[in-house]
């Protein structure tokens, strides 16, 4: 029961945050709404016993990425942009298209009952010792992507520097 209630709470937080993110005029407000949304997602991780992921979400996303965003927002002067029209001219077409796609998308999801065997819900054991499990998987089974991810981050760093610095 509590779980259900919490789910809806986090879900509402997530969705509301997301909607505000794409609708608010001021970019800083958007960022703050995004933080709310991400926090909602983090809560949902927690609900599913993904504690490690919860931590990553909070630390990395909310702590890292959002700071990056805020920095950029400060760096590039967005005041002018805030006074402008906020939506692209074809917003109506886009909305229709998105709504259509979304409807179909959801319909497919709900039709895909075969995916979720009712029994599976009960059988699903909470992943014991979440952090250990994650660690073992990450450094054994997912060693290669882990290493590659380091390359990815290296590239991102280099890229960020190359792009943002005035003179290399």
């Amino acid at each position: 029961m509590v779980e259900t209630a919490l789910f809806y709470a986090f879900a509402v937080l997530t969705i509301a945050g997301a909607i505000l993110t794409v609708t608010l005029r001021n970019a800083i407000h958007c960022a703050i709404s995004l933080i709310g949304s991400l926090a909602g997602v983090a809560g949902l991780y927690l609900l599913q016993q993904a504690e490690f992921l919860f931590a990553v979400q909070i630390v990395l996303y909310i702590g890292g990425i959002m700071v990056l965003f805020l920095f950029v927002i400060m760096l590039v002067n967005l005041d002018a942009a805030a006074k402008e029209r906020q939506y692209h001219r074809h917003w109506l077409a886009a909305a229709v298209c998105v709504a259509g796609t979304g409807a179909l998308f959801t319909a497919f999801l709900l039709r895909g009952q075969t995916l979720v065997k009712p029994a599976a819900v009960e059988q699903a054991e909470p992943v014991a010792g979440n952090v250990e499990t994650i660690a073992v998987a990450l450094f054994q089974q997912f060693l290669v992507p882990f290493e590659v991810a380091s390359l990815l981050l290296l590239v991102a760093i280099v890229g960020g520097v190359v792009m943002a610095k005035k003179r290399i």
């Binding site: 998105v98 796609t101 179909l104």
Partner: protein, 680 residues
């Protein structure tokens, strides 16, 4: 020396002469040219004479020499055939050809300019012509005949356009070639039909086949044989200047006079007659076509004669006269009297060549003037020319004893009496005879009698032509007198000499005769001696009255008193407005109907100056151009346009706004889900 086996040399030697002239002529002296060129023809003449004598000694008067196979698909060889018909032709071609060559050495001697104004070129062409003409008459099959046929057309083109700096000369040459080509198209098709019907194009085999029982005469029906014969005849009308393809011949007078004499009087234009005589078996089998031939011949004869009545250009008179005489020959062929046609061809060669050469001599004396209205009184100044022309005029007018009389009279008689003939044909021929006498003597009186109407300068220069010109005239005059004696009417008595030509040619027309008999189903034409005498008398009367009428009008009457011919005069003078009719039909009618855009093209076409016969050409080419501009290019442009048009939607999408791209992206996603949802 076996001349018979050397007949292939007869055409080759003038070809050699032509090659020498055309390729090395520039470095040769005039004298050398004057020897080589006529000399080569003379050698041919000697060879011909030898061959003909040997031929006479053969039992079956036919000799073939096959050099090598030529067009295997049509089973056609480079093969030559000498028989009585071709023997007459080669003698005429080489004999008269030689005389005209000699004459030309004098006539063309005054050509100036670089390389003697193309003196060598002239003789080169002339020799080339002789080669092709001999190929034509010596060929043993239709295809090789066609080689000569086309070749003489080419030489005619080249020689008509000899003075190529004159635009009119070039135009005339082109007109001649193209009109001839139209006839040739008929001839080609005719040949294919013939090949299909008889399986061969060799004369002997064709005759053999036609004689066989496979073919029945097509009297009263117009069958495949008739079509074949008609197509061949269309070829003949082109070459021999018959209605409706005669228009080129008068224009062809742009060429030098010896050319007119040789090609457009004596030899080439008679090729059609020769060909029809050659195909006598075919024509004999197809009375329907023969009727057409006779009708066309008669119509041409009187039509051209009527035009000749009023022309003022001396050569034009002779040109129309030629057309008219050719009409006679076809009349003879059409009524089935093939030998008479050939006979007239042969006599006509003498007197018409003589007339042209005489006219040339006159023009020569007049420093190039051709308008008879500016002549007169030349009788004493150029006596030899006058005398010889006098004889020729008598001959063509049909005064008894001279060559023309015998052949023309025989034609008239045959057209009266032949089973294929008729009174109407005779009547037309009769009128023509009178008109012939009239216009010829009009020419004589205007040219040689009365007072000189030329200007002083010209008058001062009038002189008799050199020997090289007068001697051929005299030889031809002798011919004009005597040539007819070998073909006297039977009523004059029958013996081997008096009807020599008929007997000589008889084997050739044997086949035609046979099948004609089979066709008519009864004996030869009735031979009413009295009637023949009467008709002969009538025609002599007509000739004489024609002469005297001319004398009355053109010698006795003052210029102002002369009858103008009333309404008819302009009609005749303008040649029945045929050229204008062609122009009207082909040029004006077309442009009026065509609207403004068409008219613009038409302007180009008219400027182009292709003459009347190119009507169809113009129409279709205008359409073609139009098609090319609007449809074909249009299609190309259209496809380019389509490609471009199709690229606009792409441009519409690729607006440069990243969110538009995202929208397209999402639309793609939507389409995929939509497909999965609705289509499946």
């Amino acid at each position: 020396m076996n001349f018979l086996d050397l007949i292939w040399l007869i055409p080759i030697i003038p070809l050699g002469g032509a090659a020498v002239m055309l390729f090395f002529g520039r470095s040769l002296s005039k004298a050398a040219i004057s020897v080589i060129s006529p000399g080569s023809v003379f050698i041919s003449f000697l060879l011909s004479v030898g061959a003909v004598f040997q031929l006479a000694g053969l039992h079956e008067r036919l000799h073939q020499v096959v050099l090598f196979p030529w067009l295997p698909q049509l089973r056609v060889d480079m093969g030559y055939l000498l028989d009585p018909l071709s023997s007459v032709m080669i003698l005429v071609v080489t004999g008269i050809g030689f005389l005209i060559h000699v004459y030309a050495t004098g006539y063309m001697a005054h050509e100036h300019g670089p390389n003697h104004g193309g003196y060598y070129r002239f003789f080169g062409y002339l020799n080339l012509f002789v080669f092709f003409m001999l190929t034509l008459v010596l060929a043993n099959n239709y295809a090789l005949l066609f080689v000569g046929w086309e070749g003489v057309g080419l030489c005619s083109y080249l020689l008509i356009g000899f003075y190529f700096h004159k635009k009119s000369a070039g135009d005339a040459g082109k007109k001649a070639f193209i009109v001839n080509r139209i006839g040739d198209a008929g001839f080609i098709l005719g040949m294919f039909f013939l090949f299909q019907v008889t399986g061969s194009l060799r004369f002997t085999e064709v005759n053999e086949a036609l004689r066989s029982a496979r073919f029945s005469p097509e009297a009263g029906v117009f069958g495949i044989l008739s079509l074949t014969a008609l197509l061949l005849f269309i070829g003949a009308t082109g070459k021999s200047a018959q209605i409706p393809l005669y228009v080129w011949l008068p224009d062809a007078m742009e060429g030098p006079t010896p050319v007119s004499a040789l090609i457009h009087a004596a030899t080439m234009v008679t090729a059609g007659v020769y060909m029809c005589a050659r195909s006598n078996a075919l024509f004999a089998l197809t009375p329907e076509t023969s009727h057409i031939v006779a009708a066309v011949g008669a119509a041409t004869a009187i039509f051209a004669a009527s035009i000749g009545l009023v022309q003022n250009d001396i050569k034009r008179v002779l040109a129309y006269s030629t057309v008219s005489q050719l009409g006679y020959m076809f009349l003879a062929v059409g009524v089935g009297a093939y030998w008479v046609g050939v006979f007239h061809l042969y006599t006509h060669a003498f007197f018409k060549a003589l007339l042209f050469l005489g006219a040339g001599s006159v023009i020569h004396a007049m420093s190039g003037e051709q308008d008879m209205r500016k002549m007169g009184g030349l009788k004493d100044k150029i006596p030899i020319t006058f005398a010889t022309m006098f004889i020729a005029s008598l001959a063509i007018a049909g005064i008894p004893g001279l060559a023309g009389f015998f052949s023309k009279d025989e034609i008239l008689w045959q057209s009266w009496s032949s089973p294929l003939g008729g009174k109407m044909l005779w009547a037309v021929g009769f009128c023509t005879a009178a008109m012939t006498a009239f216009y010829m003597w009009r020419l004589m009186f205007m040219t040689f009698y009365g007072e000189g109407r030329m200007d002083e300068h010209t008058k001062h220069h009038i002189h008799e032509s050199p020997k090289s010109m007068t001697v051929p005239l005299m030889v031809l005059a002798a011919g004009s007198v005597c040539a007819g004696w070998i073909g006297m009417p039977k009523v004059f008595g029958e013996n081997g000499f008096m009807q020599a030509i008929e007997h000589w040619l008889a084997p050739v027309f044997e086949t035609g005769k046979e099948v004609a008999h089979a066709a008519a189903g009864h004996g030869a034409a009735q031979h009413d001696t009295t009637m023949e005498w009467v008709l002969m008398g009538l025609s002599i009367g007509a000739a004489l009255s024609g002469i005297f009428l001319a004398r009355h009008i053109y010698l006795r009457m003052k210029e102002s008193e002369r009858p103008t011919g009333g309404a008819m005069h302009p009609v005749l003078y303008n040649k029945w407005y045929v050229d204008e009719l062609y122009d009207f039909l082909f040029v004006n009618g077309f442009s009026l109907g065509g609207g403004s855009m068409m008219a613009r093209f038409d302007q180009k076409v008219v400027d182009g100056g292709v003459n009347g016969t190119a009507w169809l050409t113009r129409l279709v080419s205008t359409i073609s151009i139009w098609y090319d501009t609007w449809i074909v290019d249009g299609l190309v442009n259209l496809s380019a346009f389509t490609v471009r048009a199709l690229s606009y939607p792409v441009r519409f999408l690729q607006t440069g706004f990243v969110q538009s791209y995202a929208l397209v992206f999402l639309a793609g996603v939507f389409a995929i889900f939509g497909y999965y949802w609705w289509v499946r």
